[in-house]
Amino acid sequence: MSLLSLEGVTVRRGACPVVDGVTARVVHGEMVGLLGPNGAGKTTLMRAALGLQAAEGRITLGGASLDDLGPRERALAAAYIPQEREVAWPVTVEALVTLGRGPHRSTAEADRAAVDAAIGAMDLEAYRGRPATELSGGERARALIARALAQDTPLLLADEPSAGLDPAHALGLMRRLRDLARDGRSVVVSMHDLGLAARWCDRLILMVSGRVVVDGPPEAVLTPGRLAQVYGITAHLGADQDGPLIVPTGLARSELVKKEE
């Protein structure tokens, strides 16, 4: 059974479709990377999948049609980490993570256990009582993920979670997300870092101008032809024992021509 299923999903803003006839599935234990140039529609697609954005087409979440699910049921089926890492008030990290328990109607002990587990999984024990607004970028990103973990959902969607993080934090983030996938949850992350995406994701979905161009394992998706056509770059492709390696090296010929004009 798929955790998330999209069939012919289209989102229009005015006359133009921002997301155009997207069909995709996410099953248990997968880590899926959502890639595409700026403006490809990745954020809009994620928001539509969760019901935050009106869309045409069929969307099922956890096996049930999105329209049949109430807000609380959706919150229990999927957790979302938006791109804007907004924290309006100086609440403690512990209080922030506890926000993820909101949709549950569980006992205080169950809540505490889930919060403790999430804080432990994200290595935030030392920051428990600190105001979340005083954390560094990487620490805050981890706290927001811990909130999503505390929400304890089978599916997790994260919009550019590694943006702005230093290499150590970015790697640590990707490892933790993949560990979640190994534990049986499913994770969908959108990102721009091709190297990280290729190395850590089981599957990649590449979007251009609202459409899915290709959907498959990293080696099949990130071919030199694709990289030139979609991103306009050349890259050095390789692999080591841990996975594929992609290092962007320069602009593709047509882009070079454009630059010279």
């Binding site: 928001r47 969760l50 019901g51 935050l52 807000p71 609380r72 959706r74 919150a75 229990l76 999927a78 957790a79 979302y80 980490i81 938006p82 804007e84 907004e86 924290v87 309006a88 008030w89 100086p90 609440v91 403690t92 209080a95 922030l96 926000l99 993820g100 909101g102 949709p103 105001p131 927001l144 909130r147 929400q151």
Partner: protein
């Protein structure tokens, strides 16, 4: 948790103490014991009348209106995710005053008494909608304040116009009451008129706790955690209009309570919006009861308006806020 419980207990105690002090303060100059005895025993003598008809409604209204202002300030700040939001600054109080003035000076409320709070409510409702439409929750602080200034300037001008057009010679000078507020010589009928609306508004605002907590992380995150944004918005708007509007109808526009109280109390509740709601309600009651006491003690012979005192505290506070956050606010 214990700090929160302690804060609430302290505020509740303060409210009770100030409420009693308010009952015991007044030009009649009676000793405390006799006054309280007359209130409880309900005698018909002069002292009983003074306690029941003059001091009691005044103290109760100070408590209710203060609580409503504090609570709506906390709710607005939580909903708009902006620490500068409050009913006075956003023009909600000013527009409510306009509604009340239109009801009173045209004689409408003499014929149909409920017209007074209802029109004040309508004014408040319009203002919240207008400011939200102009600045929204995506708008920054500058946009929000500008929208509030625009709305309250317009409301103030129309209020002054309405008062100047009244044939009654006293009307024009009464603008001071409507723009600054006063609880002097309020009566029980006014309490019955405004009280139910204020309580209803407060009840609506208290249901926003969980939604406001979730909104700490932004609208998308909150929606993904099960919050229905449209419903939250409706509750915030209607609740604020009820809680603030009815109070303005009987006591004029009292500003800054909703700004100062949540700010001062936020560190004591760890910044958590759902905890700030009850704390601000109690804090608002404390502030307004204290201000109303001060008005009677500092200048008993002159009709010192409540809004003067809250502005003397609130406006420098606001200036300090702007100074401290000037980099963040733009």
């Amino acid at each position: 948790m214990s700090r929160f419980a302690g804060t609430l207990a302290g505020l509740a105690t303060g409210t009770a103490v100030l409420f009693c002090l308010s009952l015991l303060t007044g030009p009649a100059g009676t000793p405390a014991g006799a006054g309280l005895a007359a209130l409880i025993s309900g005698g018909d003598g002069a002292l009983g009348i003074v306690m029941r008809e003059i001091r009691l409604p005044r103290a109760l209204l100070a408590l209710l209106i203060g609580a409503g202002l504090g609570l709506s300030g906390a709710a607005l700040q939580g909903y708009l995710r902006n620490p500068l939001a409050e009913p006075g600054l956003l023009g909600v109080s000013g527009t409510a005053a306009l509604g009340a003035v239109l009801a009173l000076y045209t004689g409408l409320s003499a014929v149909f008494p409920l017209a007074l709070p209802l029109m004040a409510l309508a004014g408040a409702f319009l203002a919240v909608l207008l400011v939200q439409a102009l600045a929204g929750s995506g708008g920054g602080s500058i946009t929000l304040i500008l929208a509030g200034i625009a709305v309250s300037s317009l409301a103030g001008a129309l209020t002054a116009l309405a008062l100047n057009l009244s044939p009654n010679p006293f009307a024009a000078s009464e603008i001071v009451f409507w723009l600054l507020g006063s609880l002097a010589d309020r009566s029980m009928p006014q309490l019955w008129l405004a009280g139910p609306f204020i309580l209803a508004g407060m009840a609506l605002l208290f249901t926003l706790g969980r939604a406001l907590d979730a909104l700490t992380l932004g609208e998308d995150a909150a929606a993904s955690m099960g919050v229905t944004l449209a419903r939250t918005r409706m509750l915030a708007v209607i609740g604020t209009a009820l809680a603030v509007g009815a109070g303005v109808a009987v006591a004029g526009a009292i500003g800054f309570v909703g700004l100062v109280v949540p700010h001062v109390l936020r560190p004591l509740v760890g910044g958590i919006p759902s905890r700030l709601l009850p704390a601000s309600a109690l804090g608002g009651a404390v502030l307004l009861l204290a201000a109303d006491l001060a008005v009677r003690v500092i200048a008993p012979d002159r009709d010192l308006k409540l809004g003067v005192l809250t502005a003397l505290v609130g406006a420098p506070f606001f200036l300090w806020l702007v100074w401290r956050h000037r980099r963040d606010l733009a």
